[in-house]
Amino acid sequence: MEHLRLNGAYWGLTTLDVLGKLNAVDPDEVVSWVMECQHESGGFGGNVGHDPHMLYTLSAIQVLALFDKIDVLDVEKVANWKHNDEANYSFRFSYVAICSLALLHRLDKINVERAVKYIVSCKNLDGGFGCTPGAESHAGQIFCCVGALAITGSLHHVDKDLLGWWLCERQVKSGGLNGRPEKLPDVCYSWWVLSSLIMIDRVHWIDKKKLVNFILDCQDKENGGISDRPDDAVDVFHTYFGVAGLSLLEYPGLKAVDPAYALPVDVVNRIFLAK
């Protein structure tokens, strides 16, 4: 997983922060490694020497935010960097761009109204969002769209009752959440579906206790970590989403996580409210 080390860093470090253990790492070491991943064009690659990509740029900004070190960035340079890969454009990128620029206080770099309009054009008849206009609703895409709309103050475009019902029906008998009807539950959907429900204030429509138990069942109690499903192999990706999901469910002992930025609430509040 070398190519997405920066993502891995974000997942691992945010999990540590939510568990209240961010002091286990040396901030300077982390920050200097992150900066080494920056490409001369301004964007960040997944690892040192890798090409810049939006996904890693967002992770870089998020990691720096955890340590309150966004100011080491040349913000203009990063904000101006353009991701040049039209052919592989995915909906995730709208969310990633909006999230990155918002954290840098540079949302003015894009035409927000147009971005919102495009996202709304991908709204489906079941209330969800697909990856392109007309594509089937999928929880991952829904998170990206709802997150982008939340950050830009445009959640009134979402039919909260219709989408909320589609989302709450993702909870299956075991208590876990799937990503689409008739599919298997997966811990990472506990994030995509759950955070979407939180942002539209419909999380009370699922059985929170049952979901908590599902996530806890996905732990590897011997070696640590969380997997996608009970008794599967663990990885940092699912560990992060499991812990973040538990935080959203108000599991005791965890720092609160912000559903739109996927960072601890105190980090987000520090960036936006302390002016």
């Binding site: 070398e2 890798h50 208590g175 204030d201 996608d228 559903p259 409210l273």
Partner: protein, 628 residues
């Protein structure tokens, strides 16, 4: 990463695994070397192929490959997108569905195709025909496997298409046919002792609220004509979050009559949708214009009693409430309000086939439920029965059958037992149906109206209070019937959100104690209530939750929707402990309360109270004590 069984690796496996990683890292560093130095030899490309074979998601690897191939072949790839006509695609989805009913993707694609085809119009894709056929088509799936969700989601879409109609004007304040008494200082005299028709404002203006069947945009002085006095151009604002352009309720203000005191009542005539321009969020125009008329007059000021009404505390004591007899003056008034409801002019014609389809579907659904106890089937039946009631209220001729609210409520109670994981979803729907039932006729509403007179200060005006306490309500609805309410008791319910209250512009006293409000952000609708003076939010859960589910549903710096009036740091004045109360700041800076109760929440120490006093200079009573 997904679906890999968990098992401890043997030593042999561990060895193999680390060998594999070393090999991969080696490959990777080679490819990075080629990439950074723009080396595109055949051998280099083969090495990149090996890397991508083991790691198909290696982004930089793919970038390199793309550049390498372009460099070597120097060809432009043309992708031809074959345009498959919609009809063929439709047949394709039909085949897919017959092949396997549990095919959400196929149903989804089908709904998209049919939407396009119905929009294009033409005889073959006439809405009535298409929907009729589709209901039959999906019925096969539903009867074959009632527990499979895919068909039911499609059925819900069909229902939505069946009910889709033009937005309709529903109600207003002042109500049609009423005579409103306006005054500056709040004293009622003689025959004007009817609190619900009396409006007091030192600012010499009164609100005019229009309420539609669904969220619309385009309500302005170009589409709504108001004949009154000199006819100034009026500014209409939507009563919605963020002043988002679409709203069910729209507000403007009219000035008091120029002559004071006026012996005659001045008429006001409002023509809604006088000119086209009002449209729903789904693009349907409000094409039928209708009008309402009412009159206003100003009562003479009584100089002796110019003390401000609100210097007395509202105690909400039970002994201060007195039930109203139904034969009272107010009862008659409320009766006349409801007459406005929908006059013949106001009703658009809903196509006959809508009602026919709904009735047929109700019958089929009941048939299905007689053999299988299927959760979504039951929910669908409840939705169908509500649709039946809504169509009737919009003027559809009935089909002879009568649907009772009790039956719908009973269905939801069944569902709560059948599907306890989703109990809160059913509770929300149940609340909406219950409120519809309570406000559906004037008798049931009157049973919930009490006269409130502060025992300790008999000189103050009485209120007519609507009492919706103790009903297990988790959500608010049917506010189109409550636009006249000035005093409202919603205590002892299960409210988590008060969305909908922003339309009750006349609210002056509101009791929300003993509910489940979790944050100050959930009280955002109150910011639109300019006349709210008395608020009781005691015994809720504010400050007791680490997660705020309404964080992104209000205007704040988080949603990039706050203007130049964000002076939070100034109010906090360096007090670090108050930094967490940005949401309290956001709410109370726009409220002008005289009385506030908030005991029994997880916030409210002395520092916080001092903070509130700074934000609300008019505040006189805080948690029962005089605070200035």
């Amino acid at each position: 990463m997904h679906g890999i069984p968990r098992k401890a690796l043997t030593e042999e496996e561990q060895g193999a695994s680390s060998l594999k990683s070393t090999k991969l890292r080696d490959l990777q560093s080679q490819v990075l070397h080629f990439h950074h130095n723009k080396i595109y030899t055949k051998e280099a490309i083969e090495i990149s192929a090996k890397l991508l074979e083991s790691n198909p998601e290696h982004y930089t690897g793919w970038n390199y490959r793309k550049l390498a191939v372009q460099y070597r072949l120097n060809r432009r790839f043309i992708t031809a997108l074959k345009k498959i006509p919609d009809e063929e695609e439709l047949q394709y989805t039909t085949d897919m569905i017959y092949d396997n009913f549990s095919n959400y993707s196929a149903w989804h694609n089908r709904s998209v195709l049919l939407s396009n085809l119905m929009e294009k119009g033409g005889n073959r894709y006439d809405k009535e025909n298409v929907l009729g056929e589709e209901y039959e088509f999906v019925r096969n799936a539903l009867f074959t496997d009632p527990d499979d969700q895919s068909g039911w989601f499609y059925h819900l879409w069909l229902l939505d298409q069946t009910l889709k109609q033009e937005p309709v004007f529903l109600s207003s304040w002042p109500p049609n046919g009423s005579n409103l008494y306006l005054s500056l200082d709040g004293r009622l005299k003689g025959q004007q002792s009817l609190p619900i028709l009396h409006f007091q404002s030192k600012a010499r203006k009164f609100p005019l609220v229009l309420y539609f069947s669904e969220a619309v945009e385009g309500v302005s002085s170009s589409t709504v004509t108001v004949e009154y006095q000199d006819g100034d151009t009026l500014l209409w604002t939507p009563l919605s979050a963020n002043n988002f352009g679409f709203s069910q309720a729209w507000l403007t203000y009219l000035k008091f009559p120029d002559e004071v005191p006026s012996s005659e009542a001045l008429p006001v005539k409002v023509t809604i949708a006088h000119f086209p321009g009002i449209t729903s969020s789904s693009g349907m125009p409000c094409s039928q214009s209708c009008h309402i008329s009412f009159s206003v007059c100003v009562t003479s000021d009584d100089q002796e009693h110019s003390e401000v009404q609100s210097s007395h505390r509202i105690s909400w004591k039970e002994e201060n409430f007195k039930a109203r007899a139904t034969q009272s003056l107010e009862a008659n008034l409320l009766h006349s309000f409801s007459k406005l409801e929908i006059t013949k002019e106001n009703k658009p014609s809903t196509p006959k086939w809508s009602m026919e389809i709904i009735s047929t579907e109700i019958a089929h659904c009941r048939e299905l439920l007689s053999t299988t106890n299927c959760k979504i089937g039951k929910l669908t039946l409840a939705r169908l029965l509500m649709a039946h009631k809504t169509l009737i209220s919009y003027g559809s001729p009935g089909d002879g059958t009568e649907v009772h609210y009790e039956d719908i409520l009973a269905l939801y109670q069944d569902l709560m037992k059948m599907d306890p994981a989703h109990i809160c979803y059913y509770e929300d729907d149940y609340s909406l149906v219950l409120l519809k039932q309570l406000t559906s006729n004037i008798e049931s509403l009157l049973k919930r109206c009490d006269r409130y007179q502060e025992f300790s200060s008999p000189s103050t005006n009485p209120y007519l209070c609507v009492r919706l306490n103790g009903l297990s309500l988790s959500r608010i609805g049917s506010t189109e019937h409550l636009l006249w309410v000035q005093m409202l008791d919603l205590s002892h319910n299960k409210l988590r959100s008060i969305e909908g209250l922003e339309t009750l512009q006349l609210l002056s006293c509101l009791k929300l104690s003993h509910n489940r409000l979790c944050s100050f952000t959930s009280l955002e609708p109150l910011k639109k209530l300019k006349y709210l003076e008395v608020l009781d939010i005691s015994h809720n859960e504010i400050g007791a939750h680490s997660i705020d589910t309404r964080r992104y549903l209000c205007s704040s710096p988080l949603t990039h929707a706050v203007g130049g009036d964000w002076y939070f740091q100034k109010f906090v004045d360096g007090d670090v402990k108050l930094n967490n109360h940005w949401d309290a700041y956001l709410l109370f800076k726009d409220l002008n309360l005289v009385q506030l109760e908030m005991i029994g929440n997880a916030v409210g120490d002395e520092r916080f109270k001092a903070f509130l006093l700074k934000l609300m200079p008019e505040l006189k009573w805080l948690d029962g004590e005089k605070c200035r």
